[in-house]
């Protein structure tokens, strides 16, 4: 449901906020939106720490809103991040607080939030959010909030947009680290198994593996056969090339899951609901588990020594690349354009060569996975990179 919010004069004052978690390029989005709003003659304010600046202005000595004046924006470094701050929980429907009886509770403050928008005469909100945030904003939109969302996913797994800002920075850094991992594996004459971002989609793993010409890449979209991977590694690893590099997305899956799983430790066994003694699918998959599973599995099948490495949170920081700066500025400006066009309840989507506005209802509950017929899959195959199954 897209709400037409009418004439642009309604929108003299708008707000922007940022959901939980850092992604390179956040400041570029803010700058893009602010410059674009200024061109329109609109005033734009930033809400500190998600919605906290509006819901709890008393917590901020200089108020919970920051007027993004042209002077301030002029000096805002698009390579930086965290200018508006972030909140760990950006969900006005479940705000945790300590009540007057000193008891902890979660309360629905969505009505107070909408009232605060009216009180501050904010006509609409640009919200820079990830997958969970899109659902929250969709719910707020259904309650009457005029909003346009900017998708933010370092793993590039938000459906409807071809590239999220931040992804290119993560990919670039992952490639740099994989190059180092390869050199280390070469020097140690071992097979390095490197876990990279990608719980539900394999874009980072696949594109990074192509860039470094890894021996194998295992992504969530293709349940992998470790025996096949081992067989391909045997073909490639030799006395003259006594090392290997396997890239594993953290959500990689295995054809023979029971055998491929790391044998549960007594601790892991205790994670099982109802204490059945077996680790179950309710166990939270922790960072490093995919690399450990693959390294241990290959260890049994190969003569060479394997070892796991985990990039994990290292990738979730840093300065944005040139691509992400441009994308961030473009997304920010696109969001203002959407509001000007009266397209509330949408998400800005980059569908090359255009920026489009997709209804939030069509953007939620979907994950952008790597299609089986993706060009990237074919490139990987052409380069001799094993994808974990016969292609």
């Amino acid at each position: 449901m897209i709400k037409e919010i009418g004439h642009a004069s309604f929108m003299r004052r708008i707000a922007i906020n940022v959901g939980a978690g850092y992604v390179p390029g956040l400041n570029a989005v803010i700058k893009g939106a602010a410059l674009s709003a200024d061109q329109m003659g609109w005033q734009i304010v930033g809400i500190r720490d998600g919605f906290d600046g509006l819901l709890h202005p008393e917590r901020y000595p200089d108020g919970g809103l920051v007027t993004l004046s042209p002077e301030l924006i002029e000096n805002l470094d698009p390579s930086g991040g965290g200018f508006l701050g972030q909140s760990g929980r950006v969900d006005p429907f479940h705000v945790r607080r300590v009540n007057e009886d000193e008891m902890v509770e979660e309360v629905d403050m969505s009505d107070e939030l909408l009232a605060a928008f009216r009180r501050e005469q904010l006509g609409a909100l640009i919200s820079v959010v990830g997958g969970r945030g899109l659902s929250i904003l969709y719910k707020l939109h259904r309650k009457g909030l005029h909003t346009v969302c900017v998708p933010r996913s370092i793993e590039n797994d938000i459906a409807a947009t071809a590239v999220s800002f931040g992804f290119n920075s993560a990919l670039s850094f992952t490639i740099e680290m994989l190059d180092r991992a390869r050199q280390a594996a070469q020097a140690a004459r071992k097979i390095g198994v490197v876990e990279v971002l990608g719980g539900e989609s394999g874009w980072v793993a696949l594109q990074a593996a192509i860039a470094v010409c890894a021996d194998a890449v295992l992504i969530p979209e293709i349940p992998c056969d470790l025996k096949l991977v081992a067989s391909r590694l045997k073909d490639k690893v030799s006395l003259r090339r006594p090392y290997g590099l396997v890239v594993v997305a953290e959500g990689a899956r295995f054809l023979d899951a029971a055998k491929a799983q790391v044998k549960p430790s007594s601790l892991k066994a205790s994670l099982s609901p109802l204490a059945t003694g077996d680790a179950s699918d309710h166990v939270i998959q922790r960072s490093g588990q995919a690399a450990e599973t693959v390294a241990n599995g290959l260890q049994l099948l190969l003569a060479q020594e394997t070892y796991p490495l985990v990039l994990g949170p290292w990738v979730r920081g840093g300065t944005p690349t040139a691509v992400d700066r441009q994308l961030g500025l473009g997304y920010g400006a696109g969001a203002v354009r959407a509001l000007k066009a009266g397209k509330s309840g949408t998400m800005v989507a980059f569908v090359p060569p255009d920026m489009k506005f997709v209804p939030l209802a069509d953007a939620i509950n979907k994950v952008r996975t790597v299609p089986a017929d993706s060009e990237f899959m074919q490139i990987a195959s052409s380069l001799g990179i094993c994808l974990g199954k016969e292609m």
Binding site: D91, F93, H94, R96, V98, D101, E102, M103, V104, E105, E106, R132, S135, I136, Y138, K139, A159, E221, L267, S270, L271, S272, P273, L274, A275, S280, H282, V283, I284, R286, A361, I364, N365, K366, V367, T369
Partner: protein, 328 residues
């Protein structure tokens, strides 16, 4: 000293009634878990007990999928609350917890396979007591009875008081498990009907208590002290959920002992070694378990700390650690 029970609150939100419990007070007991908690312990093993109202849960193992069923994908279920992802291996439903949170018992009951269920239901005092009474012969032979647990059973003071008073009238021993982070007027209403109070000393240092539990422990300790002094006939048993890196150290154990030992009606201090059985329940509720990286305490550590307690209580060291019942 007995407080009148509010007759206008004859019902409460019950999470579960568990029979044949042996660690929640003397003898064989039936433990009644009430919903609602005033703390947010990061190690909580019963996340389904936290919200003070019935809430939706989803068990994917029971879902038969879109083709065979698909009931929740259509009205009256909220748009977008349930969905089948593109490219999934099967057509089982997934839950968007942000949009499904408002689903009530009526909606959940439409799920023909029982994959959607509500944690918790409203019950009357008599309904609960009739269930508890089924094991009355065990109570008589073992000295057991009924224990109220949670959540925080003191958050429903009128209902709890009515249940406990009713249990006494039926001849059952009564006990409660509480963290006592409630106003004193709640404690005062319930304790006259209690034979044994099992109470948590989670952390000694107020700042640490706030960090891990959500509030500091000033009011809690005040309530404990006042309870020890106001209700001399109640047996108090102190407890600590033992978590390495958080409170599994001598400093905490000795601080608790210093707090409780001056009070003769605090008859024991039990250690509850941290386990993670509750972790799977977080997924059923769409929650994130915040204490994922912490480990269970080693046997040696538990024995060492238990020995300190045994020495303080003047008894021979023995492996007497507690093991509180969790709702199934």
């Amino acid at each position: 000293m007995s407080s009148p029970v509010n007759p206008s609150a004859p019902t409460g939100i019950v999470l579960n009634i568990q029979r044949y419990c042996s660690h929640d007070g003397p003898g064989i007991r039936t433990t009644v878990f009430l919903k609602g908690c005033s703390l947010r312990c990061k190690w909580c093993a019963n996340p389904e007990s936290i919200a003070p109202k019935p809430e939706l849960s989803y068990d994917s193992k029971k879902c038969t999928g879109k083709e065979e069923c698909g009931v929740c994908l259509k009205p009256p279920f909220p748009e977008g609350a349930f969905f089948v992802p593109d490219g999934a291996d099967d057509d089982k439903v997934k839950v968007n917890w942000h949009l499904a949170a408002d689903c009530d018992e009526k909606l959940a009951s439409l799920c023909p396979t029982g994959a959607l269920e509500m944690f918790g239901k409203r019950m009357t005092v008599d309904e609960v007591l009739d269930e508890v009474e089924k094991d009355s012969s065990f109570y008589r032979n073992s000295g057991g009875g009924m224990t109220l647990s949670g959540g925080e059973c003191l958050l429903q003071p009128d209902f709890s008081a009515a249940l406990l008073e009713g249990a006494h009238k039926r001849g059952f021993n009564t006990a409660i498990e509480t963290a006592c982070n409630v106003p004193w007027r709640f404690v005062e209403k319930v304790l006259p009907h209690v034979d044994t109070m099992l109470h948590d000393h989670k952390m000694t240092i107020p700042e640490r208590h706030k960090k891990w539990v959500g509030v500091d422990n000033k009011r809690i300790l005040e309530n404990f002290k006042k309870a020890y002094e106001t209700f001399p006939d109640v047996d108090f048993i102190a407890r600590t959920p033992l978590i390495p890196g958080i409170n599994a150290d001598e400093e905490h154990i000795r601080a608790v002992l210093a707090f409780i030992r001056p009070h003769k009606n605090v008859i024991d201090y039990e250690l509850l070694p941290y386990h993670r059985f509750g972790l799977g329940k977080y997924e059923l509720l769409g929650e994130v378990y915040e204490l994922d990286d912490y480990k269970t305490p080693s046997d040696d550590l538990v024995k060492h700390l238990q020995a300190i307690i045994d020495e303080a209580f003047g008894r021979t060291p023995a492996a007497t650690t507690g093991e509180a019942t969790q709702p199934a």
